[in-house]
Amino acid sequence: MSTGLKALRGSAAIAGVATFGCGEKPGFTDMELLARSAHAAVADAGLTMRDIDGLCTASASAAMWALPVVEYLGLNPRYIDGTMLGGSSFIAHLLPAMHAIRSGQCSAVLICYGSAQRSAAFGRREIVAARRFLDPQPYEHPYEPMLPVSAYALAASRHMHEFGTTREQLADVAVAARAWAGLNPEAFMREPLTREEVLGARMVSDPLSVRDCCLVTDGAGACVLVSAERARDLPKKPVYVLGNATAVWNRQISSMADLTVTAASQSGREAFAMAGLAPKDIDVVQLYDAFTINTLLFLEDLGFCPKGEAGRFVADGAIAPGGKLPVNTNGGGLSCVHPGMYGIFALIEAVRQLRGECGERQVKNAHIAIAHGNGGMLSSQASAILGTAETL
């Protein structure tokens, strides 16, 4: 990390957040969901859409997605980031936006996402078929892996082989996420889930059952980023960005050098370095849990436990409500919301925890949070360390 990045620590803050349509929201398009969450996030920041002069957005289907978003919302941004790294994109958008704010290029950046993945008539099967032409992977597709789940299943098989990680330990991740979801009125699946139910669920791509896999939901989320100075004059308690870093090591799972070590080990290290903090300083953890193996890999790669130990780390409810480390307090992609790309929801939950807005699931004395995004097939990783005013 260049030492110059430390100068950006805490220079910008998230002043507004909102979600809309999480779970099932038939009758809405991607854009309509996005617009509702964007409007609500801008209002939450005490601003109007006319104050927004920066835009970060991405879509899994539209390559030029920023264009229709600009048009639909009536924006005239001086700063635009449409970088598409998969589900980590919105967490990866933070640092470039901080540069843009610091330089004076823009003053209020809207980060937004919306997807009607669950309700849309143009479903996942059609999207997968279209991607084979638009985004070919000629060295994997002929073997008919069920992507993305088979890629994560391959990583899980290797983690189990090398470290003795068990399906029971993977199941404990899903059980903990569901327990948190039970405390979150916004979560899509809230009824209690047992280890036995995860293990007994329909297998999708061994060793992952359907309960090891994220939900398929609708949903939209948006954040507003402004300078730290401006955030202090806005109505909501500012949540400062203390560190942010992104790393990409591969695209295909077959190109991953070590299936048990992700680029989160780099993005996490660099984000912590920028923040001047360490894993022991973190009060609340939001990880991109598209599959149960993700949570284990990221707990290790971000430094919450040694490599190979995460299976044992999560046993006995350690990451569930009342456990030693609160992880995915909204219920995560496994039980709360997962409309194609989850990253912005990890970010929003971290902000809500640091604001103290989380009701029953609120973590007491939460001052520092990490929100970690993943994209592709364990391909892109983005880590953000967030803090309250006390941590500046």
Partner: protein
């Protein structure tokens, strides 16, 4: 055997043409000596363009494994493996002569090119008695 493509096509078309003729070739970098798979125009290790085609031994080991669960109407359960060739490259493929759930990490395997409807595909067979 060592061969070089003539540069008339990109490496993907050349490689597929060889597969369609029943031959598996991988690249080896003339600068850093590392093998490269899948085929590329430049070496991902050192950036060199001095990539040469070489026939691998075809021997390797299963590095990671999954069984894709499918309905019988969709073709039934399917093995998908990541295989490490002894030359030091990894590829996605399928172990074809075992039941999907019988494929284990560490299983020694040998490559075979299946040509179906004129299209070549790299598959692997488990080597008898050499299971991990």
């Amino acid at each position: 055997m060592q061969t070089t493509s003539d540069g008339v096509t990109g490496v993907q078309a050349f490689h597929q043409g060889e597969l369609d003729a029943g031959r598996l070739l991988v690249q080896r970098c003339g600068e850093c000596s590392r093998h490269v798979y899948y085929p590329r125009e430049t070496c991902p290790h050192c950036g060199s363009t001095a990539l040469e085609w070489t026939a691998p031994s075809g021997l390797g080991s299963v590095h990671a494994v999954t069984t894709v669960r499918r309905k019988p109407a969709d073709g039934g359960d399917l093995n998908v493996s990541l295989v490490d060739l002894d030359e030091g490259v990894r590829l996605m493929s399928r172990v074809d002569n075992l039941a999907p759930e019988a494929v284990r990490i560490g299983q020694r395997v040998k490559a075979r090119v299946q040509v179906k409807d004129g299209r070549g595909l790299v598959l692997f067979d488990a080597i008898d008695g050499a299971a991990a």
